[in-house]
């Protein structure tokens, strides 16, 4: 599926649109980390929690559960939230 990557993660992906796969959000993030080592820990902490200033959208709707099931034609956006100056 298509994944939109925010600018802080371009040092990993070099492009803001990548292809990745996974039956769940958790699996998708593991696939992204396989392709772009180190990316996952910058957005998901060691207790498998989304980091405070990162947001995840599936088909335009914000999601909070890494167990959420995904379909191959879903569109996933990873977005940086505001975090001060």
């Amino acid at each position: 599926m298509k994944v939109l990557i925010p600018s802080p993660l371009l040092s990993y992906t070099r492009t803001n649109r990548v292809e990745a796969e996974g039956a769940t959000m958790a699996a998708l993030l593991l696939d992204l980390d396989r392709q772009f080592p180190g990316l996952r820990f910058r957005v998901i902490d060691e207790q498998d929690r989304m980091r405070p200033h990162m947001r995840f959208f599936v088909n335009g709707k914000q999601v909070y559960d890494l167990g959420l099931e995904l379909r191959p034609d879903d569109s996933v956006h990873i977005v940086q939230a505001l975090s001060g100056g």
């Binding site: 925010p6 802080p8 993660l9 080592p37 180190g38 820990f41 910058r42 957005v43 998901i44 902490d45 060691e46 207790q47 929690r49 980091r51 200033h53 990162m54 940086q80 939230a81 975090s83 001060g84």
Partner: protein, 404 residues
Amino acid sequence: MVNTSRRQASRKTPAKPRSKKKPAGVSARGVVVLVATRKGAWLYHGDPARKTWRPSGPHFLGHIVHHMVLDPRDGRTLLAAAKTGHLGPTIFRSTDFGRTWKEALKPPAFAKPPDGASVAARSVDHTFWLTPAHGSEPNVWYAGTSPQGLFRSEDGGVTWEPFSIINDDAKYREWMGAQQDGTPDGPKMHSIIVDPRDPKHLYFGMSSGGVHETRDGGRTFAPLIGGMEVVEGFDKSVITYHDPHCVVMCPSNPDRLYQQNHCGIYRLDRPSTTWERIGRAMPAKIGDIGFPIVAHPYDASTAWVFPMDGASVWPRTSPGGRPAAYVTRNAGKSWKRLDNGLPARDAWWTVKRQAMASDMRDPVGLYLGTTSGQVWMSRDEGEKWSCLASHLPEIYAVETALLR
């Protein structure tokens, strides 16, 4: 080599004889100053006279860099602890003075607690402190994090594992307190110190949470808070209330530690376990509150501090807007103000706990990184200061290394 006896004769307060031999040729070598800021990192390469400085940077522009340290054992491994406002914490590693960087494959991260654990799961917000381990353990490093955690790498900072019992020990977790017991930027593990005589003998400080020591390589730790004071009205027997800001070991006498605490300046001479509040000898108008403290590399009687305003709401600025370092040359019996060359008035910056450092030259150079983004240096142990760099972001840490 500088004529030490002549230099000592020029001081108003004679220094005690030095006990650590300086490495041969130390004063012919250039110094590199490593500056970590809230918005990236810079390196300043000095000439042997320490008069001209070649900047390199920004590295990681926009990253919050809490600490950057060069491994003195190999003279080339450089680690930087970084995060951004959005992204989680990581460690970057360079072996060519920042021309190229590689990210750690496994940055410091807490373990997941087992089912039924009595302590809550934690995640590392940022790595705050980096310490190369003992000379007999090449490529071994320690890291301290916020919230308080202790980590170790055995491969030069590429992969990191939780170290010792303390990260998930119920008693230590109680002593670490909660978020509101820490600094505004989160509670810190800092001042990780390795005894040069024994790789299993370590100290660390926690803000809050006291000073602690192990003699068995981290299998057990014990608090070391005798004589340390806490904020008025609180019980000093409660470890959580102790807030050491910075602890250093004297390179020339590893049995002597100096400490700048939330509540004063202290000295500890081992095997004693009772800190002596040597800040009582500071001028009353200045007080003995601050963050950094630096031990002289060759003279254990000499240490420098940079006092700040800890009155009322804790402005954390230079007292009266007049920045100054203070030095003791008699292990804390008396202090001398060192402000020649620093702004005489209307300067409302201060220096954070990691942002004051010495070099290993003779005379020793001192370096200050300010909250207003300036680097100040002295080539003569603080007698005269000059500005090395301006207009940087808020400076979090300054370290030095001798170039080979």
